[in-house]
Symmetry: C2
Subunit: 127 residues, 2 copies
DNA sequence: TTAACATATGAACAGATGTTCATGCATTGA
DNA sequence: TCAATGCATGAACATCTGTTCATATGTTAA
């Protein structure tokens, strides 16, 4: 009985349908919240058309801000802001030469993630 | 001279530093905007901690809304709203049984994308 | 049928996000 | 040194997003 009381105290708001074994096991095996938060932050970078287009352009070659601005048909400021986010997330890196800043991809995972995403949406379209 | 005028008309706001060869080539090889938009929509689903946690839980096993609600420590409504988004993006699928709705992953790409993301952030941390 | 329950969903709200505008900083060439 | 150029960045603004609340839908058991 004391045991029951403890369960009630610990599992506040427990719904009646909960499969306790499943819930406990899944909870234990989940990566910690910090990791998942960081992961979400990474994927957030892929979750905007402008940034995806920037990455996609950089798959081909290193480019300066001005080139990217022209390729995307967007203002230099907008591109620059997005590049800052991509830099912060270690997705792109800069190389400065004279007045220009040349951006390129920092890591081959980026393209792999991109390609898996493409596969997924293509299967979806076929289905 | 007429040629110069046309160039000015077509390439409005052209910056002076643009590397025209590079820009033209990259532009040609870029996937179309629709595809990149759809791709961004997909990755948007990975770009939220709640949804990442849901996917992560479903890697282990099929779960009902109520279980997920308990695992995440979040309200049923919030979870249900997110599941709807994941359903719409063909990331999860539902199986209904009695009063419950059991969710599971729709496609193995999802876990692969997740794992590549993990690799990326782990390399980042090591560096 | 009715009550209880699991889930879904619309509305409302707060907070996050992306672009533009204005401006600052560094580099280059005159 | 000064003007022009390429890039970065803060502020402002509109839009998008995620959660909560209230409520609806559909299923089950009594």
């Amino acid at each position: 009985m004391r045991n029951d009381i403890n369960i009630e105290i610990n599992d506040v708001c427990e719904e009646q349908c909960v499969h306790n074994d499943a819930v406990t096991e899944v909870k234990e095996k989940m990566p910690n919240l910090d990791t998942l938060f960081t992961l979400a932050e990474l994927f957030k970078m892929f979750g905007d058309t402008t940034r995806i287009r920037i990455m996609c352009a950089l798959f081909q070659r290193e480019l300066c801000v001005c080139d990217l601005s022209e390729i995307l048909g967007m203002g230099q400021s907008a591109v620059s802001h997005q590049l800052r986010l991509l830099r912060t997330s270690s997705i792109v890196k800069v190389r400065r030469e004279g007045k220009s800043a040349y951006y390129s991809l920092d890591d081959e995972h980026i393209q792999k993630i991109f390609e898996l995403g493409l596969e997924h949406i293509n299967e979806e379209r076929r289905a």
